[in-house]
Symmetry: C2
Subunit: 81 residues, 2 copies
């Protein structure tokens, strides 16, 4: 049985953001505060509902202290991470 999750760019980004935020032990509120973005925006991004800009990709990565490329990783890459 294969996973049948949407792999649109925004869905992929949202899943990666949520995973990396959780791994960092941060709430959406804490990530929002660190990044200077609004909590409802962060929530919307994680749900795959936002066509995030390049600059906000880097802002979010900096807040998570990760490489921005990690936020674009395909589903199979980080499943065991």
């Amino acid at each position: 049985m294969t996973r049948d999750v949407a792999d649109t760019p925004t869905a992929r980004f949202g899943r990666n953001l949520k995973k990396l935020r959780s791994a960092a032990g941060l709430s959406q509120e804490e990530l929002a505060a660190r990044s200077g973005l609004h909590r409802t925006y962060v929530s919307s991004v994680e749900r795959g509902n936002r066509n995030v800009s390049l600059e906000n990709i880097f802002v979010l990565a900096a807040a998570l202290k990760c490489d921005p490329r990690e936020l674009l990783a395909p589903p199979s890459d980080g499943d065991g991470a």
Copy 2:
């Protein structure tokens, strides 16, 4: 002597796009036609003047048949590629 190039997200993206486009042997016009984006937009992105959206990052990567993460690579990564 170190290279002193701007490493803003948009400048980084523009350099990577230009490098990968050239490596693929495509003109800006050809990349524009493949991606469905306007040639002046592609040109502007390459000059680091556009805060490209996530969806257009994936569109450009698909047109170049590369991983979208390659377009976010830091300057040192691909200098010899």
